[in-house]
């Protein structure tokens, strides 16, 4: 999916991991963030990863009692819409409000794509992946 701007499966997977294998999710998030830094370098963008993905997991945990595919698609889409604003925080801290604001505005078209991608992926994959992860979660619990 690297060839598609801001179309990613990370949001989908982190939401589903938080819902179905919640005990493993902190480990998964930490490993993902660390591997991204090791693979692509620890730039300013990596600072965003330190709080955006854990925030997604935290918010998912708060809403975990919902079981509506549409609701999770909207939640994932909203996260995509907000992603640029969340990522603009370090730029605003370093360069001032205008730097952060212009960073956010210039990325809005990509936030819109991010939203559409997240909604489409959640709508199409929520049920099959939930079934798989539910089974994995159950087998992990039984193996203890």
């Amino acid at each position: 999916m690297a060839g598609l701007p801001n179309i990613e499966a990370v949001s989908l997977l982190l939401i589903l991991y938080t819902l179905w294998v919640p005990k493993l999710t902190p480990l998964i998030v930490c490993a993902f963030i660390l591997l991204e830094g090791v693979t692509y370098g620890f730039g300013v963008w990596w600072v965003n990863y330190l709080y955006t993905w854990p925030l997604l997991v935290f918010l998912t945990h708060l809403l975990r009692r919902n079981d509506s595919r549409i609701m999770w698609a909207c939640f994932s889409g909203a996260f995509g819409l907000c992603y640029g604003a969340l990522c603009s925080v370090p730029y605003a801290v370093v360069g001032g409000f205008y730097a952060g604001f212009s960073y956010w505005v210039s990325g809005i078209p990509f936030d819109l794509l991010h939203c559409c991608g997240n909604v489409a992926l959640m709508l199409s994959l929520y049920k099959p992946l939930s079934r798989c992860l539910h089974m994995i979660g159950k087998s992990l619990d039984q193996s203890k």
């Binding site: 598609l4 909207c74 730097a99 960073y103 809005i108």
Partner: protein, 128 residues
């Protein structure tokens, strides 16, 4: 069902508001001829100055017209690979950074508007 419809409508409204913000605040382009000053900063801080005359509305187009850069189309627009014949070495995590009057621009080369008298710097950076 009604709740789901409301959620989808709220998301669509939020997306429309964001689109409106972008339409209102995005950098405007200007038509007509422009004179641009471009400073290319290579490794070890050596640099060279270029003057570009163009009718292009965006920096990428102006620099390509002047045969100053080469780039490839990526998911986020043009990615500059070569400036003044000097290629950024991916294996060393090198990349070309565009700044305007020393300030970082938040747009790609092909989405950065140019105006008469603008000064840009293109600097070879190491490390993502």
């Amino acid at each position: 069902m009604k709740k789901n419809g409301m959620l989808l409508a709220a998301l669509a409204i939020a997306a429309a508001i964001l689109l409106g913000v972008w339409m209102y605040f995005r950098p405007a382009t200007t038509e007509g001829s422009k004179e641009l000053d471009i400073q290319v900063v290579y490794e070890e801080n050596s640099s060279k100055d270029f003057h570009v005359s163009t009718n292009a509305e965006y920096l990428g187009e102006a620099l390509q017209e002047a045969a100053l850069i080469e780039g490839e189309e990526g998911p986020f627009g043009m990615y500059i690979t070569v400036v003044d014949g000097v290629a950024a070495d991916d294996s060393l995590q090198q990349w070309w950074c565009i700044t305007k009057d020393g300030e970082q621009v938040n747009t790609g080369a092909d989405t950065t508007p140019v105006a008469d008298g603008d000064c840009f710097e293109i600097t070879l950076m190491t490390g993502y």
